[in-house]
Every structure is written in C-alpha cells, then in structure tokens.
Symmetry: C2
Subunit: 264 residues, 2 copies
C-alpha cells in the first residue's frame, strides 16, 4: 500500500504542461489545505514537467484557499539549463488561482564542494520524550498525518502559557513512517504551529502570503528536527524562519515565509 | 536633474503589460547588471501595471546575465485583491529570459497593528567613521553610484584578512543623496560585498540563483544600515540573509538569497 503522502501528492499529466493535482482530504486546517502540502503537490507537477529530481529553491504566493477537491496545475519550464531548470506553475480550480509558484529544480547531490558553514541544531530532547500533538488535542486534521512532537518548552501556548521566545521546535515524522525526501521537506516547512503562538499567547489563523524553501540535501531516514522562529512581527505581517535537519544532523533545508498577523 | 537611480529604473509602457526596461550603464559588476538593480527595475514595471505603491514580498530567479542595453519586461497581474495585488514578470532581451519575478504588492503603511517583535540593529560606528569603498579601490562600478561604507571590522577581506565571521555590515547611501524608498530597498538587498568573503577569504563571482525581499516599512531619509550573513554554505550553494534598518532604527526590510558558491 502506498504511503499516505505519496497518494496525496500524486499528479497525472493531462498534456500541454497541465496536470491533474486534486487536493486530497486530510491535509487541511479547518477545511483549507496546508500551505506546505499544496507546495509539495505543485512541486511534484513541476518535477515531472522539468524532468528534474529536486526542488533547490521554490517560492509560492497564496492567492485563495485550497479547498479539498479537483484542481489542476499548469506548468511552464522557463529554462532548461545544464545544472538547473527554472519552472513556473499555477494551481487553479475552475480558472481561479489558488497559488502561483516559481522554482529552480536540479539535483541536490551533484556538487562535490564540502560544507563550509552549517546551521547548528538546537538542543532537543529525543523524539520519544517530546509530547505528541494530534487532532485529539484540538490540533488540526493534518496533525494525524504528520503528528509533530514539540519541544516540551514550546508547548505552553496550547494551554495559555506561551514561552515568550517566538520559537517552535519539533520533530516531524509521518504517521505511516514514510521516509522524508526533498519534496516532503516542503510539507515540513509549514507543519509546526506558528511560532507567533509562543510570543504572547495570541493564536488564530495565520494566512501565508509567500513561502520560500531552500533545499540543501536529501534527508536521511528518520524524523526531521525543525526549528521555526518569528523575529519580525510588524506592519501587520510576520516573518517565520525555519531550519530543518535530518536524523544525521545535516541541515537539509531552510524556509522563510511572510504571513498576515492573526486577527483575534 | 533627476537622481541617478530614478533615471536608471525609469520604465516606459508599450501596451499589453509590456514595458521598455532598458538596463542602464553604471549599475553593473564587470558588465553584468547588479541583481538588486535588476529587481528594482522590474519592480517599477510591476508597480506601474498593478497600480500599487510598494513591493511587500518579491522573488526573482536569475536566468542569464543582465547586460547593459535594450530589455523589456512583460507583466501579468495575476490577482487584484483588496489589500494586495499578486504580479508576475519576465525580464527579457530578444526573447531570452534574464529574470523571472513574482511579487505581492500593496501599501506598507496601511496596517495599524503595532510592532510586536523587531530585529535589533547591530553595533555600528557612525556613517562618517566607516571606510568608503568605491571603484578606485578595485570595487565594482556600481559602488560609485552607491558607495557603501563597511563596518571597519568587516573590510579585511579586501586585503586578505577576512574576519571569519561570515558577516558584512555597512551603510548604504546613494552618491547623489537620493532618499531611499521601498524600491531602492531591493537594490540595497544586493549592494554589499557577499558575506562569504568574510568566511575564509575566498572571493570571486557569486551568481545569485534566487533573491527574495520582504518590505515592512517606508524608510526614513538617511543612509540604510544593512547587515548580511551567510550561515549556510553547503552543497555548492550559499544562503545570504540580510536585514535593513532606516536612520530611525526601524527594520524596513529583510532579504534572503541563494547563490552558487564562488569557484576559484
């Protein structure tokens, strides 16, 4: 039986760069598909059309909610270069834009240069010692597919005692043990509760305006360690920076999004 | 007489969303137009077509060098919303892509919410106490238009004694005293020497693959304080994070780019 996530991001070519990219149930937050899931879904179509293996840098602008059901993605390969392909895509339903995406694709394994500077992992208790969050705790449905385990110091927001540090750290692993790859990193980049929940206890809907992910390596098997921080919250917007490490301690991706500050 | 930068980013509508966006001389590094300058130029066409005042989040993918001379930008307004417009653009010469851009535009002044978290400025000597760099010192031509003044602790790379900290801090002010605005922040986001020069002394051409800028405020008059850091240099790529403050100490923008590690 295929893994849940693989079923959920399966795309079907319809010709002329158009792909059936139906938005599957279970990857949503109160009916709206998670932004990271939508990005992974569209990236699959972009990968297929470009013939490349990995997203290297990919940016999505979110235009309207991704409701479960039919949707198509139109892909344009702008440039096929030697090392990279640059690709644009539009995720739409009934001609209405849900998301516009631009990405550069390639192979993360090609370069022989040794790392010269790496992001250091935060201190984090082992996976089994971190509290699990799922929909039974009032968390959104997607948490049943990807039941994140948060750092014990970062869970206070859920019971009205936010840490105040603007940080959210957690382990990200699929419920059915699907191994991570460079596409599931896109999901992981939007899979933890927003770190603004740990600023002063304000929670609520945080609509992403734009999300960019940079991929540096193919993740080793095992849970990802993810750390997200909001250091800029002003002008009604917030920035959220993420870093992801695989089980071998390699920084496999970084992410940054700009979102609307929640309105209570 | 208009300011140099305003002349250099003047765009002329040709109809159907196409703009004459000639790449002007003097904003280049050894003949290739600076990536921040190109982004500002294209943003002017996107602003004009969308009728919005400010870039809020804008991402460029760089496909081929922007040589001085004729170039056009084709702009598509994907969505005109209440608060934001989402816009795509292609900068091309003779049908060949130089850059593809996606951005969300709006007005940075509209939101009444007070800042909740802000980036703190680094310690920085006053403008007049920082050494000026211009083309007379072997710096590229663009430094005569925007003669940055680097932090004294960050200039060692130019004489073979890099700081080792992977940081580049400097004041950014136009030679002709043009005040900064939200479009010149795009130029500033790519105007300092790459911070990798302060890692281990390696210098050379650092081709930007993708650059994203988030704009949070309209800058007050005076020089910008800019701080850039490379914390991830691996897989032959490097990430460069920037923060920009205006003369009043307000964080006006952040930037992140992914580039190819220089090959010696």
């Amino acid at each position: 039986m295929p893994f849940d996530f693989d079923s959920a991001i399966t795309v079907r070519p319809l010709g002329d760069g158009v792909y059936d990219t139906a938005i599957r149930r279970g990857w949503d937050i109160v009916g709206n598909a998670n932004g990271g899931y939508l990005l992974a879904l569209v990236a699959e179509a972009m990968k297929a059309e470009s013939g490349r293996r990995d997203p290297i840098t990919i940016t999505a602008h979110y235009l309207s909610p991704g409701l479960v059901g039919d949707a198509t993605t139109t892909v344009q390969v702008v440039k096929q270069g030697r090392r990279f392909a640059t690709v644009q895509a539009a995720l739409q339903r009934d001609g209405k834009d849900i998301m516009r995406v631009i990405g550069t694709f390639g192979d993360v394994d090609t370069d022989p240069l040794a790392p010269r500077r790496e992001r250091v992992q935060p201190d984090m208790p082992p996976y089994d010692e971190c509290p699990r969050r799922d929909s039974g705790d009032g968390a959104p449905a997607i948490m049943d597919k990807v039941p994140v385990r948060l750092h014990p110091d970062d869970v206070g927001f859920a019971i009205g005692t936010p840490s105040g540090n603007g940080t959210m750290r957690g382990w990200v692993k699929f419920a059915d043990d699907r191994p991570h790859d460079t596409v599931s990193l896109l999901l992981a980049s939007d899979s933890l509760p927003p770190p603004i929940f740990n600023v002063d206890g304000e929670t609520g809907w945080v609509p992403t305006v734009e999300l960019t992910v940079h991929v540096f390596a193919r993740p080793a098997p095992g849970p990802l360690l993810c750390s997200f921080t909001s250091d800029v919250i002003q002008a009604g917007m917030l920035e959220e920076d993420g870093v992801m490490w695989d089980s071998g301690g390699v920084c496999v991706a970084t992410s940054r999004q700009i979102a609307l500050q929640p309105r209570m």
